[in-house]
Symmetry: C2
Subunit: 569 residues, 2 copies
């Protein structure tokens, strides 16, 4: 059995090493078009930032180490240029010598990953991606060549873009982040992304939302030194010794498409649950292959390293005669930006709304651990729940310590099919430095359970204006001191602890109550409801509403800028 693998990083290398452990006699050839195999691509931004200082740390394996341990025939600087499915061969080009050759296969695994989404932009300035060891070397060289304090423009506020921003700032670079749409981190809903923008700005990043690059200029500054800059759609010129293109990736399907393999509507290589393509002798894994999405079903693009590794291993299992069907993907992701951790799984509200999926929403702001123990940090959590089945459809978390733990627990519950209410019953490890007796996750479950049973009814931040316009009255049940420090327009203040005695003072008609984060609001809503009022709780309280306003303001400001330029968002 001869197995040829195209791509020698996450998915390809997992397939190759598992294949060898299962079949000592197989001939295994890995073609990698780059100069490195099995490198730590998720570590590249941190090498740029000087957080990872030893370049050798990034290079997990070499062709030599893989030959010694796994008897793999790894050929770097070799690009596979075509597949002859009938003849079961691939054509290969040595990118250093230009030499062409033909390699036969019994089974072929495509693990070439993704390529940058955008066509190369012609700014008159070279742009850099951040996907390979070579990219990092180029970026390093550009920054090292700058006299004084360098400046950079990062285009695209997704995961890689934000990691680039964080690391460039860490290295002392002045950074402008340019985001074409009104919001960074589009897997988040706007009220969850807004605090991240605020944090970027607090760290000196010049964030431009609803903006794009329209050209470049090379003005001469007052000292007579040649500087370089990019022209943005808002008419401004921003300094740019370095331009990083982080506008996203698309599956690299060129080989598969040219060979007539089935390509899905969303642009990835179609595979069945054993990673086989439409040709049963050819398999595909990683960012280039389609996944089945746990919420949306088959044909999805989910570009995560963990899935690439897992499916690479599964393809080897299938080839070795022990097929291991892939689970639907929940798409767990995480990114660290300065002191924030941002994590998500599943679908967001915008996507559910667009798909017409009936859902319930929970916003909470729990502590990372018991509030009475030093160092507790508040996080914001949003949970999306199937309105018909109570299934968990997605979650988003923004905060400091403990965010990664909570998203992993939710991802596990979601994958296991636990309902949102069942989160209340999870036994999570509690000592005061690690969590709470009613952990953040349990609290989500309790709110979900109250919504499920109609014990609580809630209003979302973006529904509030319409509700008030329709005649509802807003009651802020926080203390007078909290109210005085900042409150919602049109809110009247009546402290929760006086509500029982003074509720008759409230206006007739529908009431919306709120507190700081939603918990006292729930107690108020239960009390007023039993006292005969028609009452709902503002989900997530003042904090979520504030974040929503910030998001709205960003949308409004971005739209205004774009409209002033006459360019559609």
């Amino acid at each position: 059995m001869k197995i040829v693998i195209v791509g020698g990083v996450a998915g390809g290398m997992s397939a190759a090493t598992r294949m060898r452990r299962l079949d000592e006699s197989a001939e295994i050839v890995v073609f990698e078009r780059g100069h490195y195999v099995s490198f730590a691509n998720c570590g590249l931004p941190y090498y740029v930032g000087g957080v990872i200082t030893d370049r050798a740390e990034l290079l997990l394996q070499t062709p030599e180490s893989l030959r010694a341990r796994f008897r793999l025939d790894v050929r770097i600087d070799h690009e596979v240029t075509g597949i002859d499915r009938a003849g079961q061969t691939v054509s290969v080009r040595n990118t250093l010598t230009g030499e062409e050759s033909i390699e036969g296969y019994d089974r072929l695994i495509l693990a070439a990953g993704a390529t940058t989404r955008s066509e190369p932009l012609d700014f008159g300035l070279a742009t850099h991606t951040l996907r390979t060891v070579d990219d990092v070397d180029h970026i390093d060289a550009v920054l090292a060549a700058v006299d004084g304090s360098p400046s950079a423009v990062v285009i695209g506020g997704g995961f890689i873009g934000l990691e680039a921003v964080d690391n460039l700032v860490h290295r002392g670079v002045h950074v402008t982040l340019v985001q074409r749409g009104p919001q960074i981190l589009t897997p988040l809903d706007p009220e969850m992304a807004a605090p991240v923008v605020a944090d970027l700005r607090a760290h000196g990043v010049d964030v431009r939302l609803g903006t794009h690059v329209v050209g470049s200029d090379a003005p001469v500054d007052s000292a007579g030194t040649a500087a370089t800059g990019l022209l943005l759609s808002d008419g401004s010129l921003v300094p740019a010794d370095l331009v990083i293109d982080a506008t996203g990736v698309r599956p690299d399907t060129s080989l598969a498409a040219a060979a007539g393999l089935r390509i899905g509507d969303s642009g990835g290589i179609w595979v069945d649950e054993t990673q086989a393509t439409s040709d049963p002798r050819i398999f595909a894994v990683g960012d280039g292959a389609l996944k089945t999405d746990a919420v949306g079903g088959a044909g999805a693009l989910v570009t995560m390293a963990g899935l690439a590794n897992r499916h690479g291993r599964a393809a080897a299992d299938t080839i070795a005669g022990r097929p291991d069907a892939a689970e639907p993907a929940v798409g767990t992701g995480i990114v660290g930006v300065f002191d924030l951790t941002v994590a998500m799984v599943g679908w967001n509200e915008q996507r559910l709304v667009a798909a017409g999926r009936a859902h319930r929403i929970v916003h909470t702001h729990p502590s990372s651990h018991a509030g009475y123990f030093p160092g507790a940090e508040q996080m914001a959590i949003k949970l999306l729940i199937d309105a018909d089945t109570d299934a968990i459809l997605g979650a988003q978390i923004v905060g400091g310590s403990g965010v990664d733990k909570r998203i992993d627990v939710i991802a596990t519950a979601m994958a296991a099919g636990l309902g949102a209410s069942a989160l209340s019953r999870l036994e999570l490890a509690y000592a005061p430095q690690y969590g709470s007796a009613k952990d953040a996750i349990n609290q989500l479950g309790y709110v979900a359970d109250n919504l499920l049973h109609g014990t609580t009814r809630s209003v979302q931040w973006h529904e509030l204006s319409a509700e008030l316009a329709a005649g509802a009255s807003l009651v802020d049940v926080r203390t007078p001191a909290e109210f005085a420090a900042g409150h919602l327009p049109d809110a009247r203040n009546l402290n929760l602890d006086e509500l029982r005695a003074r509720h008759a003072e409230l206006p007739a008609g529908p009431l919306i109550v709120h507190c700081q984060v939603g918990q006292r609001g729930h107690t108020a809503a239960r009390l007023l409801s039993q006292l005969g009022h028609d009452v709902r709780n503002l989900d997530g309280g003042y904090r979520t509403w504030l974040a929503g306003q910030a998001a709205d303001a960003a949308v409004v400001a971005a739209a205004a800028e774009v409209l002033a330029e006459g360019i559609p968002v």
Copy 2:
């Protein structure tokens, strides 16, 4: 409806507040025999240690705040002394005035928790427990009265005992930890507990295993100052300005038993899945009530704050006419000791062996996050798997950062009924500062999957001697440098990367291979197996074996000491 609740901390107060939110009209009376309600009992050791400095932080609620917000009638310093089930009354004694009274109820909730397990020990020295705010004040007073550097003896190396040790050392106290059995932290297996003892000793704690207190002495030191000390079963005298009794707790069932309520074999109050006792008008929750154990079934004692809170809330739900059946408890626990975090869930190996449950075992030593990112810490994980069903039966983790996350994911998977192999398919959040593309949890799943399918066969550290005696040969596949730095007796060294070429040099007959942590050993076992050898992998590698030896040494030393005294362990 009048509800009387006995006990005003975790379970009782959760019941009271939930009851109010569900029923504004109910009369709710809470009797608490102590002087404080709803205090942070899990924070008490950290107040002793000066980690929590503001005493007010520990006092989460007062009778006044609970009256204002929830219209609760909370009576502190009131002890319930009897239940008249026929008359539906309780007798109550004011512990300050001695005044006796009778209180009627429609529903009664028993949430009095646990009491110390041991009979008061007569050492001639006062012992202190660490369960109430008063306890903390007493300990504080004792330590403050010592001239110079105080010394303490902590009796019992369980969760509270270790938190006491950690916090006393943090406060500058010299601590001796006395453990009657051969091992601290008995929810762990010995090879998992041994590194904790090493860490305690590295922090200057005098750990005495297999030892108990036999009396006290009050010698006069060289300066003529009166000192106090405890005599131990090993004949030594240890200094003890303070003695903390952390020998464990037992359910406080005195009230229930006197009233003729059903008590389970293991000593807790019997309840059904809605928390009702054998009298349908009386409920019990928290440390005093029995739980259904996820591994062992009904009638278990699981004393965790999270369960107390959850079941308190559930009792209120039941009383309000919306019963919420309790899930079986998995018993997740965690404790921080100096720089270590120790966590566990479910059953350990010793308990499974004692119960005759067929099981598989996995030991791993993964990184807290990607090894190429700074700050990764190694942890030790042990997973127990049902040999018939692949169900997760338990887990133990000892390490630094990331331990709490991994135990929570395993506890969630276990509660949701995911098999051990399914851990390989979980999508856990990966960026290099948070985890690995193949996370510690995924790795456990892969090993479990390999055991399930017979792809790997393993040998446990405590089985090795017998296997070698029966004729197996031991092959260390680490590098010669690793071998030279320390190796197993009787092992021959043959580096994994040379194994393919030199395997013919290995002796005929069964082979046991091992590496540092088990991963290279697995690759070696796969290779040798395909080359025709009868081979198994030493589970957890050299590290687990070393930890096992340390545990064995502790057992041996402790047994020797105890035998020398003629006292059974």
